[in-house]
């Protein structure tokens, strides 16, 4: 239950400063308005909206998800955390926090996005929901472990998207494909292969990062 205590501590300190939430919310608005301005009066095709949806999600995650570990390093509290908790506890606590953050952020993005883009019509809602959930889980897992690496390395801001993009690329490509399927209204059965890929990605990233976190944290 220690990891849950850690999670509560993170929630409390986040609610006190609201740094991650504010920057994420602003980033959603900025990215969406940049896309809307660049589109102007053009009508964009349905398949393009599926890709742009994940562009917004990727760049928004890159702006705020590294906070969980970077804030510990900045405040100099990571050594204390090392003393009181095992690496696995720290990792699961931080992972839980990032999961909540990713789900909140992406739900807001999905709602705003479907309100602002008229061409973004989901025809198979169940498929979209399932792929959205598993995609978010994978995003949270991968971004948490990269955030841990980043917090120990010197350059924090710029390196995060650089390191995350190649790792997230299989997930993003498959999720874009799944979103296109749900826009087209493809049946659940014919998208099973892609869903299986996303689930495999989640499991593999979780296992590797869980095993490798010890080495990062002790550094």
């Amino acid at each position: 239950m220690k990891s849950f205590a850690l999670f509560k501590k993170d929630i409390n300190s986040e609610l006190r400063t609201r740094y991650a939430i504010n920057s994420l919310a602003m980033f959603v608005i900025v990215t969406l308005s940049v896309i809307l301005f660049s589109i102007g009066n053009e009508t964009i095709s349905e398949s393009l909206t599926g890709g742009l949806f994940w562009v917004v999600i990727f760049f928004t995650s890159m702006s705020g998800l590294s906070r969980v570990f970077v804030s510990e390093e900045e405040r100099g509290t990571s050594l204390t955390l090392q003393l009181i908790a095992a690496p696995a506890t720290v990792f699961s606590g931080k992972l839980l926090f990032n999961l909540i953050l990713v789900f909140a952020m992406n739900t807001v993005i999905a709602v705003l996005y479907s309100a602002l883009f008229e061409a973004f019509i989901i025809r198979n809602f169940l498929l979209f929901l399932v792929s959205f959930i598993f995609g978010n889980i994978g995003l949270a897992f991968a971004s948490t472990i990269i955030a841990a690496i980043i917090s120990k390395a010197g350059a924090k801001g710029t390196l995060y998207p650089v390191l995350s993009f190649p790792i997230l690329l299989p997930l993003i490509l498959t999720s874009v494909q799944l979103t296109l399927f749900s826009i087209d209204g493809t049946s659940f059965e014919s998208a099973q292969f892609e869903l299986a890929i996303v689930v495999c990605y989640d499991v593999i990233i979780l296992t590797t990062s869980y095993m490798l976190f010890d080495f990062i944290w002790k550094e």
């Binding site: 120990k152 390395a153 650089v162 190649p166 790792i167 498959t174 593999i204 590797t208 080495f215 550094e219």
Partner: protein
């Protein structure tokens, strides 16, 4: 020494044979290559393009392997080995991308068309780039070795996805793709015996070249570290 002479002769033979042997309709003599429909004279680049792509993957595997070894034993020599492997890997990755793009321009009409394998090599290029960016941002040797090892392993476990994911998402142009209709891999069906021989000799030659360069690379890195330490102790 005998290895180096052998390698020199092998690569000389492969380069000369690969470039100069003529391509004819009905190969009769031992030095003639068959005419492959759709590839024509462009087919010769296969002797140089495929080995570079192969070595990119080998180098990536070696980087991950020695990263794993480093995390187990914490021996900085292993870090030097993975660094030397990745240095060669990024060179061959760029070479594979460039030779592939040139070949694609003549065979498929465009330098880049996001074929599954083009996307995979692009992802490898990104991973190598990110890996070097991560390394250059860290000062301390042990920290750099640990963090880059962790990143190399995480990147390594995601790469198999490209093999399974890509062919489903995008249409393939390379031979052997899932939706390839014209008679499967070039190597098995369309090459004749001497073309296959030179192709595999080229693969072997480039692989030996890679391991030789890698050995030189990591040895010089290890010696440099040793000399630096000695200078520090004396000074």
């Amino acid at each position: 020494m005998i290895w180096k002479i052998f390698l020199f002769l092998l690569l000389c033979f492969v380069s000369i044979a690969g470039i100069t042997f003529p391509i004819v309709e009905n190969p009769q003599r031992w030095y003639e290559f068959p005419f492959i429909k759709g590839l024509e004279e462009n087919a010769k680049i296969i002797f140089f393009h495929v080995p570079t792509a192969w070595l990119t993957v080998i180098a990536f595997f070696m980087t991950a392997l020695y990263s794993f070894k480093y995390l187990r034993k914490k021996n900085l020599d292993d870090d030097a080995k993975s660094y030397a492997a990745a240095q060669l890997g990024i060179i061959f990755c760029i070479l594979a991308t460039v030779t592939g793009a040139v070949w694609a321009k003549f065979a498929w009409g465009a330098f880049w068309s996001w074929d599954p394998r083009q996307t995979s090599i692009f992802a490898l290029l990104l991973i190598y780039g990110a890996w070097f960016a991560l390394r250059s941002s860290i000062e301390s040797e042990e920290k750099r070795a640990t963090l880059s090892s962790v990143y190399a392993i995480i990147a390594f476990v995601t790469v198999p996805f490209f093999i399974f994911v890509m062919p489903r998402i995008m249409t393939g142009l390379h031979p052997g793709s899932a939706d390839d209709t014209n008679a499967g891999p070039v190597i098995d069906f369309k090459m004749n015996a001497n073309m296959q021989l030179i192709f595999f000799l080229s693969l072997i030659g480039f692989t030996i070249l890679y391991f030789w360069m890698w050995r030189l690379g990591y040895k010089s890195l290890i010696y440099r570290d040793k000399l630096n330490k000695q200078l520090l102790i004396r000074g």
